[in-house]
């Protein structure tokens, strides 16, 4: 048990020691205040203060290398756990000027070499269903039921292995108004699907028909609706919410 040390000293000594301690104390408080002011005077990097952005990028390295693995699956729920009223959140990239009948998925193999895949060809791939707790970055979640083809099956079927060696995949809507970038490890995850069904029915327009991304290892902001183009890159593809201050990785 620690014992308190005691000393008999003069009141002048006490005053001196108190003064020294409080000088450090106020210096510390001033440091905190100036640190806070300094932080908020830093330039922004894609909508986030630069020092914060640097740490967020480091967090990605820490958590994706320590944790992210194909063995970690989002929990699959039973069919009756899935909600019938699926929340619709956000309509960026979902303009009216779009004809699903003439739509084809565009996969850029390399600049100038684009592969066109029809919905029927995607439906011809093995079908995978996921019933998982969809998590929005706003903080709500919903158990929802989706069906589609594994992204990794598309890669396998169309010989995109070389492209999938790159660090990122980029996706954008046909009108380019909404776009996301995703690390390859996450997009090749066994639960990541190119989704054309919701609750066993064809995907509704407001949920991104004819084809959307469902990627349970990410927040909803990465589940791009109405996929127009997919491409691969070793640089981070532009990302709609990243540019508005959110974390690029946004992994769960």
């Amino acid at each position: 048990m620690p014992v308190f040390k005691e000393e008999i000293i003069s009141t002048a000594q006490i005053r001196k020691r108190t003064l020294i301690a409080f000088s450090f104390f106020f210096l510390f408080l001033a440091g905190c205040i100036f640190g806070w002011i300094w932080l908020h005077r830093q330039p922004e990097s894609d909508g986030a203060l630069k020092p914060l952005r640097a740490v967020l990028n480091t967090n990605e390295k820490v958590f994706s290398s320590l944790l992210l693995s194909d063995d970690h699956l989002a929990k699959n729920f039973s069919l009756d756990a899935a909600v019938h009223k699926v929340r619709v959140n956000g309509d960026a990239g979902m303009g009216n000027n779009f004809d699903p009948a003439t739509w084809k998925l565009q996969v850029v193999r390399k600049p100038g070499d684009t592969l066109y895949v029809s919905l029927d060809e995607i439906k011809a791939l093995p079908k995978t269903e996921v019933i998982f707790d969809f998590k929005c970055i706003e903080g709500w979640s919903q158990i929802t039921h989706w069906g589609g083809a594994k992204f990794s099956d598309l890669v396998k079927k169309y010989g995109l292995d070389e492209q999938a060696q790159m660090q990122y995949a980029g996706l954008h809507t046909p009108d380019n108004a909404y776009y996301v970038g995703i690390d390859t490890k996450s997009i090749m995850h066994p639960q990541t699907i190119l989704c054309y069904e919701m609750n066993g029915q064809p995907l509704p327009m407001n949920q991104g028909a004819p084809l959307r991304l469902i990627i349970p290892v990410k927040y909803g902001i990465k589940h791009l609706k109405r996929i127009g183009t997919i491409y691969f890159s070793n640089q981070r593809p532009p990302d709609y919410w990243f540019e508005r201050g959110y974390d690029y990785f946004s992994g769960l």
Partner: protein
Amino acid sequence: MPNKKIIKKHPLAIRWFHWINFPVLAIMIWSGLLIYWANDVYRLGWGDKTILKFFPDSFNKALNIPFRLAEGMSLHFVFMWLFAINGLLYVLYLLFSKEYKLIFPNKSSLKEAWQVLLHDLRIKKGLPPQKKYNAAQRIAYTGVIIMGLGSLVTGLAIYKPVQLYWLCAGLGGYEWARAEHFILTILFSLFFVVHIVQVIIAGWNNFRGMVAGFEVESIPPAIAEPEEEAVANTAPLNT
């Protein structure tokens, strides 16, 4: 000038941990408010009856909280490191310095804490003998350590609910983990209020102890002789 006795109460390390934690926890709570606003579903009440909404619109408006989710997240996921590291070092320090013996509750703490409560509420006079902290303080100060750990664990569970699925499931699932994380924040805020009131009541000497490390006691003339000093070692401290 007359001499006085100083009693070295708080080691330097504990004072640093304490004062670093203060702004860091404040930033964590502030950024947490910015995040929580984006899905502010919690309330006190039953059925359609709401006694208190977390948080009233006037509160959000007054603090300019709305539409700052991205900013809140960027702060939260940066300062979480400082909160975690400072807290971890604090606990390690308590264990290795044996200071924990002065803080963790013992067998009689629960009974004595009740007496402290009655005393503080001016219902009963007299306090049980104590060392550094009274029983109520032991429980409260150990409680916040557990709360801090709880905030870390529930926070991790909602930060990486897929990769740390076992953790999230152990806390009752994603929605529960988020609610627990929120409740802990409310408890921290309540702790803070009581702590501030108690510090104000305890007064300057006690506050100086947390900054300078020592408390001052005047020496009654009768025991001012050097050979009597050792006796005072066993005297209880006030706060």
